[in-house]
């Protein structure tokens, strides 16, 4: 058997499979819309299988040159970190795709849209998965950036999937602008790293000594991009708006995968980030801010998906805080947290979607008491919620344990903050679950497909399974955490029935959480006040203001341009004059200008020059168009006299002929237009400054021309080698008139061009005057 079958390169295989998935789905889906869901499920499952196999196979990578000029490599590496995030992307992806295969047809039906839009949805969903898989495996920073932006593109189209709705379009644009523009900072950071460290390879960068300020700034820029993607304060506002996307998108991109990409990025660069304390401190601040803002606002929201979206902001705040704490618990905790959160949060999102499908309600106040009507869903999401609020026997318990341990190690104050944060989580999650499943039944639900409740149950049950049988999860998280830790990382978690800090903190959290839940009546006005303050002065407001402001400025400039500047030749003349003026000022120009010698033989030329100049000025005097034409011809004719005086009879002859011909044509044209119009137009408007301004500009232009011409002509001429050569060669070329021989032989190519221009002009004249008929 060939080597690639016995020993397949899993990194490459996974990459190919992941990108084949959207392609196959779109193509087959367009051909047979009914097959879309199945193809999507199968291809995603295949990707998941490859990720699974990779855990038992040895680490694999591919590293080939991509662009030698820029030093880019196509480098994919399926290491522990990549494996974990790929597992998330494909595993949660599979469940979401299964869910979506039933949800999307319903969704389209509700919106009176055809099923032929299905492939577009799955195409982008799977494209996102592929981009995510590529992103986590990429070892080349630029390659990574390519996938990074690809996730933003996929997210843009998925959020805007309901493009007939104005809010979808606006939210999609907002998400794209926030994540796309902040992504450019990542690019700048990466390029700065390359400039400092000389490589685009992330593993190589990490091994290099890197303590420079520029490296820190670069990492800071990357961090900003990453935090924007993870919806951290102050870039968080795009995420709640992105909830206009269909539910599977929210469950997948905006809880498990795309927002996780941000913290993944931090994990990738963490060994470098760790040597800059100010970066870590900044992460702590942003993390706690996000926890607080997300948590408080989540408590005030009524729309199901909004509650979850704000809670996601808060949850990723935990991860950022743990990275910021930076101790061993923090690093392992951060990776573990992402894993646990992805499981439970996507379950909750899917729950929200299922509830909406069943009852048509999107607000929490419209639902209630569904536990009796939809027990399976209630159980699944209940387990997931239990995981999120870190009840024992769920995987979530350990995520909080690690969080508490990491915070406590930093100091009691951090411990207290951690408890408060966790209590917030407890409050909003409980509020969500209780609001939906307990209390009186407000809307009687329809029965819904197993495709919609099944994935929730699977996710919910698995939080408990992995809460009891922790070995696989720990294994995955440990192998993932080795990369940020840049060395072996160990996660020691177990249930201890003693009064250690973590347990005390956990109990305090629950107590505080329960207190928060029961005391909703007292704090909710305050929370609402905070939320509305956020609406009024928050970054979303800033975003909208900026866009509005830009439009205003844009309109204002445009108005000035169109009214006063466009179609004005002055806008070319004035800046050109200024540039030449600058050139004159900034160059040494003593002796650069000379008057030139003048002998008696030059007198006729000088007189004709005077005549020409006077005639040129005279052109602007007459009112009548016919006289203008005649005056212009005068300029031309006097020029031809000058040419002949300068020893250029050929030029003089042609100048006279051309001037005549042009005059004839000009007059013929004037005859075509009625005198009445011309006479009407010749009356100048009574502008107060118009003429004076024109004169000033004309003087500027004249002065510009004067300096250029004088400056150039003042230079003593170089050797006349070339023209001597022409005179020498002319007899050889069978001619006597050097000018004619130049035109037809030495530089015949110019003449070719010139007559081509003439032929072209004729075509143009014909088409303009005679509508293109040649005869």
């Amino acid at each position: 058997m060939p080597e690639f079958i016995t020993n397949p390169n899993l990194a490459l295989l996974l990459f190919c499979a992941a990108f084949a998935a959207p392609l196959l789905t779109t193509v087959i889906g367009t051909w047979r819309p009914a097959l879309t869901g199945i193809v999507a499920i199968v291809t995603t499952a295949a990707c998941l299988a490859i990720v699974g196999i990779s855990y038992v196979a040895e680490l694999s990578s591919i590293n080939v040159p991509w662009s030698e000029t820029l030093g880019l490599r196509f480098h994919l590496e399926l290491d522990g970190l990549a494996q974990m995030y790929a597992l998330l992307a494909t595993g949660i992806g599979l469940l979401v795709v299964i869910y979506a295969s039933r949800y999307i047809p319903l969704h389209l039906e509700h919106h009176h849209r055809g099923l032929d839009e299905q492939p577009r949805f799955f195409g982008f969903l799977l494209l996102f998965m592929a981009a995510m898989v590529g992103l986590v495996m990429a070892g080349d920073a630029i390659l990574q950036f390519v996938f990074w932006d690809l996730t933003a593109i996929a997210s843009f189209y998925l959020i805007g999937f309901d493009r007939d709705r104005e809010d979808s379009r606006t939210s999609a644009l907002m998400a794209l602008l926030v994540t796309g523009i902040s992504a450019v900072l990542v690019l700048i950071g990466v390029l700065m790293l390359r400039s400092e460290l000389g490589t685009y390879s992330i593993p190589e960068m990490i091994t290099l000594e890197s303590g420079g300020t520029n490296v820190g700034i670069a990492l800071g820029l990357i961090g900003i991009g990453a935090l924007a993607k993870s919806a951290q304060v102050p870039f968080h506002f795009w995420l709640p708006n992105a909830m206009t996307a269909p539910t599977p998108v929210s469950a997948y991109l905006h809880s498990a995968a795309m927002v996780a990409a941000g913290v993944f990025m931090i994990g990738r660069y963490y060994p470098m980030i760790a040597s800059f304390d100010w970066l870590l401190d900044a992460m702590l601040v942003i993390g706690f801010l996000s926890i607080a803002v997300g948590g408080v606002i989540s408590l005030t929201r009524d729309t199901l998906k909004q509650i979850l979206a704000w809670s996601t902001i808060s949850q990723y705040g935990y991860v950022v805080v743990m990275f910021g704490l930076g101790n061993e618990y923090g690093l392992t905790g951060a990776t573990f947290y992402v894993l646990a959160h992805a499981l439970v949060k996507s379950a909750l999102f899917l729950t929200a979607g299922a509830v909406t499908e069943a009852t048509g309600a999107t607000e929490m106040s419209e639902t209630g008491g569904l536990a009796r009507r939809m027990p399976v869903l209630a159980l699944g999401s209940g387990l997931a919620a239990a995981g999120l609020i870190a009840l024992p026997l769920t995987i979530g318990f350990f995520k909080d344990e690690l969080f508490f341990a990491a915070a406590w190690e930093r100091g009691p104050a951090f411990g207290a903050l951690a408890v408060l944060s966790a209590a917030l989580t407890f409050a909003y999650v409980s509020r969500f679950w209780i609001g939906v499943f307990l209390g009186p039944v407000r809307i009687e639900p329809r029965s819904i497909s197993w495709f919609l409740t099944g994935p929730v149950l699977v996710l919910g049950v698995s939080t408990v399974i992995f809460g009891l049988w922790t070995a696989p999860v720990i294994g995955i998280a440990e192998s993932a955490a080795t990369l940020p830790a840049n060395g072996p990382a160990q996660i020691e978690i177990a249930y201890h029935l003693d009064a250690r800090h973590e347990n005390v903190m956990a109990i305090a959290t629950w107590a505080l959480g329960i207190l928060l839940v029961v005391s909703e009546r007292w704090w909710s006005p305050a929370a609402r006040a905070v939320a509305s303050l956020g609406d009024r002065v928050g970054p979303e407001r800033l975003y909208n203001r900026t866009l509005k402001g830009l439009e205003y400025v844009s309109d204002w400039i445009h108005r000035v341009e169109v009214r006063d500047l466009r179609s004005r030749v002055a806008t070319i003349l004035a800046p050109a004059g200024i540039l030449v003026g600058l050139a004159v000022i900034f160059t040494p120009n003593s002796d650069a200008f000379e008057i030139g010698n003048f002998d008696r033989g030059d007198l006729p030329v000088a007189m004709m020059l005077l005549v020409t100049a006077l005639a040129a000025i005279a052109v602007s005097i007459p009112r009548d168009h016919l006289r203008i034409v005649i005056t212009v011809s005068c300029v031309g004719f006097s020029l031809s006299v000058i040419y002949s005086l300068l020893g250029a009879p050929d030029v003089a002859l042609v100048a006279v002929l051309v001037e005549t011909m042009l005059g004839v044509f000009f007059i013929c044209m004037l005859l075509l237009m009625p005198r009445s119009i011309l006479r009407f137009e010749t009356r100048e408007p009574s502008e107060r400054f118009g003429i004076r301004r024109d004169i000033v500009l004309a003087v500027i232009t004249g002065a510009t021309a004067f300096f250029v011409v004088w400056g150039v002509l003042s230079r003593p001429s170089p050797s006349t080698e070339l023209i001597d050569r022409y005179e020498e060669l002319t007899p050889l070329a069978h001619g006597r008139d050097v000018v004619t021989v130049i035109l037809a032989d030495f530089r015949g190519f110019d003449t070719m061009g010139e007559i081509t221009v003439i032929a072209l002009v004729m075509l143009g004249v014909m088409s303009l005057i005679r509508k293109g008929r040649l005869r």
Partner: protein
């Protein structure tokens, strides 16, 4: 002499600029023709030496033949372009019944929705109607498209 020629060229340039700033298209064209003339004179003036007509064999010093060839080419090209512009002005007149740049410009400002003069929409409507009419005319004249 250098100074004289420079001054003359500068004057023609300035005069040309003055005309090109006018709103009357006929004057603008005249400015363009003058501009070409100024450039041609400059090319001639840029010659490396002066003398008799360069017809060989010649016992006198001859003038620079290359600048003459260049001037010839430039004259012809500027003649061609001037003819083209004249035809275009005629078309503009045909379409607008005006050769007044200001009028054309104001119509454009109106089209961008930026003019608040009360007559604005009238001009706009007239202009649109004319666009439409021209399209119809073109469509009607199947044989003689443009």
């Amino acid at each position: 002499m250098t100074l004289f020629i420079s001054i003359t060229i500068a004057v023609i340039f300035g005069s040309a600029a003055y005309l090109m700033l006018k709103r009357d298209l006929i004057r603008v064209i005249t400015g363009m023709i003058l501009l070409g003339n100024a450039a041609n004179l400059f090319i001639m003036a840029a010659g490396l030496r002066r003398g008799r007509a360069p017809v060989v064999p010649s016992e006198f010093e001859t003038s620079d033949s290359l600048v003459q060839a260049m001037t010839l080419t430039a004259i012809v090209i500027s003649f061609g372009v001037a003819t083209l512009v004249l035809s275009l002005v005629y078309r503009v007149y045909d379409a607008h019944h005006s050769v007044d740049l200001r009028r054309l410009g104001s119509v454009e400002a109106v089209q961008s929705g930026l003019d608040d003069q009360p007559t604005a929409h009238v001009i706009q409507a007239a202009d649109d109607a004319q666009d439409a009419r021209q399209d119809r005319e073109i469509a009607a004249r199947q044989g003689g498209r443009w």
